[in-house]
């Protein structure tokens, strides 16, 4: 089985405070992993660090993605390599339509991957924009998104559910090898949660891997993980099959703290 992502003994500081304290995790191609943890355990730190946010400083450890050490890569280089982060709080880009944003993203990733600048060749650019529109419309239909959506400015005035659906639309268009879903369920009511996770299930292929980061178990009813890990105080303290999520939901994070050696998590 192909190792897609290997995190080894990862230590991360934010504003000189250590948040991740030796996290290790391996994700193979096609696997769905869930990381669950209480507030402040380091879940979003892990997501941001994997994507290369400049404020998250790796002080120790390695991140190997597709056999390549990616610690020195910028976020856009990581994106080109096949990483994707669905944001917990997607940012607004006033004045830029979702269509243009996505087209630019798709083109620049393609350019980085193949070295071919589609915009250089007018004919190719014209046919590529047609293909792009077609694909975008297909995915929007699949995700139950109205066509007018692509003409709106990125995340501006979007409802919570629309923002998350827009993230999944981006996932669909960019086709990463590994998609990190950072608290995708937060701020969604049950109907929106169902729509968004159905969308994920429809677009993700067996060749793609997913890392779901969540506080609650409910998202995992829809996006079913192969493995569940529990993150407490910057370390993965438990790993097991999907049933772990149910146990956690029932017994709470205090149960985890009781189960593991307190010297590890403090």
């Amino acid at each position: 089985m192909e190792k897609l992502l290997e995190i080894k003994d990862l230590h991360v500081e934010v504003e000189n405070k250590e948040i991740l304290k030796g996290l290790s995790l391996t994700i193979n191609r096609g696997e769905i992993h869930a990381i669950m943890g209480p507030n402040g355990s380091g879940k979003s730190t892990l997501a941001n660090t994997l994507m290369g946010h400049p404020n998250y400083v790796v002080t120790k450890g390695e991140i190997i993605f597709k056999g390549q050490d990616i610690l020195e890569l910028s976020p856009d280089e990581r994106a080109a390599l096949g990483l994707f982060l669905a944001f917990q709080y997607p940012h607004e880009i006033p004045g830029v339509t979702l269509f243009n944003f996505l087209r630019t993203a798709v083109n620049s990733i393609q350019k980085k991957r193949t070295g071919e600048d589609i915009e250089k060749d007018r004919k190719k650019a014209a046919s590529s924009i047609l293909q792009f529109s077609k694909k975008l419309n297909e995915y929007m239909k699949l995700l139950g998104i109205d066509e007018s959506f692509s003409k709106r400015y990125v995340n501006e005035g979007f409802s919570g559910g629309e923002k998350k659906r827009a993230e999944i639309l981006q996932l669909a268009m960019l086709k990463p090898d590994l998609a990190i879903l950072d608290e995708t369920d937060s701020g969604l009511d049950i109907d929106a949660l169902k729509t968004v996770s159905d969308g994920v299930n429809k677009i993700v292929t067996p060749e793609q891997s997913i890392l779901v980061i969540t506080h609650y178990q409910r998202l995992l009813d829809y996006i079913k993980p192969h493995f569940v890990h529990v993150l407490v105080n910057g370390k993965l303290v438990m790993s097991d099959g999907p049933e772990l999520a149910l146990t956690l939901e029932e017994k709470g994070y205090d149960w985890v703290r009781d189960q593991v050696d307190t010297t590890i998590i403090n």
């Binding site: 946010h53 400049p54 004045g95 830029v96 630019t104 980085k112 915009e119 960019l174």
Partner: protein, 470 residues
């Protein structure tokens, strides 16, 4: 917005694209510096009527007496003695493209004029230094009685109309640079639209300063008779020079009852140009004036397009966008003066600054006593690309009437780390991400521009921003 900002060849530098010039293409120029003799020489060379010579000499006197402006940017390096006030590039004046001298044509081709012409131009009045070298006007407008020519030609061919309005909206005594322009003006566009005539494709002019130390003092006058409509578009590209150049234009517009005039400018001066322009319009009953103003480049730009709302129902808008790069100061904004009841104005200003660039919004909103029921909204947004750039606002509001609705809003934002990270996580480089944020920021103005100018504005800003990040 349009995607073009991201599609350009990013290796193509500003200098390569715009920093060219034809060496000594002119055939005549006055000696450096300003005097009554120089003014007489300019007037004489043009065979002007006596009244214009008198107007010029009077303006020169005013210019000599007036102090420099005590606001805006630093003018201490501007040396009036080091400037050529009149340069005539060519003896011939082309009516069709074929007649334009090859050398001049090459320059215009580099600037993309013929392409614009092919697309949809009604008429082109392009200024190469101080004299129009190329102009064309489609017959259909001529038949309707529309006049579109250089102001010099108008003085020869339509002296009565010109004399009636010339200098009435911006008299020479208005400010030092209006006086300077009045003394040495040359070229510029003259547009006369008869009552009820709608010129439904934009009239365009393309200006550029070519000769080193050339002052460019074009003078534009637009008269829209009742119920008429015209959209005038000017674009400027100046090449890069070591010696400081001065551009000081005067634009006067008269919008009569029920008429509408839109004046669009995209200016891209090289970073040694002082761009000191006075633009003003008088707007009469139920008429509309719209200024759309894009300022890129120059060392210092001081420009505040004004709407004087003279009669009931007059409406004025000023939409401006300024980009201040390293070492540049854009002091821009708008003025609205409500003289009559039930008049309305909207001023929207957007500025971007990076590096040591400084963008200032300077505006005046004045509502006279008895201008009851007037409405005005002023909105200025500034975007800073880094920690060193600067933005200021100087909004002056004088309201002498109680029964009015006034809105004022100002925002300053910085291109945020989180926003950049978000875009970068989608595969955009930091440079692309910044360009995208900027193009979104100016989108409300860009969408008001004719297509090719929208493309050009985005392109110019992308070129300016090149290497600004990382």
């Amino acid at each position: 917005m349009n995607t073009d900002i991201l599609n350009i060849d990013r290796k193509e530098t500003y200098k390569e694209k715009y920093g060219f010039y034809d060496k000594d293409a002119f055939v005549y120029r006055t000696k450096k510096g300003l005097s009554a003799d120089v003014v007489k020489e300019i007037s004489g060379l043009k065979n002007e009527p006596e009244w214009m010579l008198k107007f010029r000499l009077k303006a020169l006197e005013i210019f000599m007496k007036k102090p420099m402006p005590n606001f805006g940017g630093d003018l201490s390096q501007l040396n009036f003695d080091e400037i050529y006030y009149y340069i005539k590039p060519s003896e011939r004046k082309g009516r069709t493209w074929d007649e334009v001298p090859e050398k001049v044509k090459t320059t215009f081709e580099k600037l993309g004029i013929p392409e614009a012409e092919r697309k949809f131009l009604a008429g082109v009045e392009a200024q190469y230094d101080s004299e129009s070298v190329y102009s064309s006007l489609k017959g259909q407008w001529e038949k309707l009685g529309v006049i579109f020519c250089s102001t010099d030609e108008a003085l020869k061919n339509y002296p009565d109309i010109l004399k009636q309005y010339f200098g009435t909206i911006i008299p020479p005594a208005d400010n030092k640079f209006a006086a300077l322009n009045s003394a040495v003006w040359s070229g510029g566009s003259f547009i006369y639209v008869p009552a009820g005539v709608h010129v439904d494709i934009p009239l365009q002019a393309y200006f550029r300063i070519n000769s080193e130390s050339a002052g460019q003092f074009e003078r534009t006058l637009i008269i829209a008779e009742p119920g008429s409509f015209v959209h005038y578009v000017e674009g400027c590209t100046a090449p890069v020079y070591a010696v400081d150049a001065l551009h000081s234009a005067v634009v006067e517009i008269i919008v009569k009852e029920g008429a509408r005039v839109r004046y669009t400018t995209i200016q891209n001066w090289s970073d040694n140009v002082y761009n000191l322009v006075t633009k003003r319009s008088a707007v009469y009953k139920d008429a509309t004036m719209e200024w759309v103003d894009g300022n890129i480049g120059s060392k210092l730009t001081m420009k505040y397009p004004a709407v004087y709302l003279m009669e009931k129902g007059a409406h004025g808008e000023v939409l401006s966008v300024a980009y201040a790069g390293d070492g540049q100061h854009q002091d821009t904004g708008g003025k609205a003066i409500h003289y009559a009841p039930h008049t309305s104005s909207i001023i929207t200003s957007k500025s971007i600054s990076k590096g040591t660039g400084r963008a200032s919004y300077r505006g005046l909103l004045k509502v006279m006593k008895d201008a009851k029921g007037s409405k005005s909204s002023v909105k200025c947004d500034a975007l800073l690309l880094d920690d060193t750039s600067r933005s200021d606002t100087y909004p002056k509001i004088e309201i002498d009437e109680d029964e009015v609705q006034i809105g004022h809003e100002a925002t300053v934002s910085r291109v945020g780390e989180e926003q950049l990270f978000y875009l970068q996580s989608r595969g955009l480089s930091e440079e692309q991400a910044t360009a995208m944020i900027v193009s979104g920021f100016i989108e409300p103005i860009v969408r008001e521009l004719p297509m090719e100018y929208a493309v050009e504005l985005n392109r110019l800003i992308a070129l300016e921003m090149e290497g600004s990040v990382g």
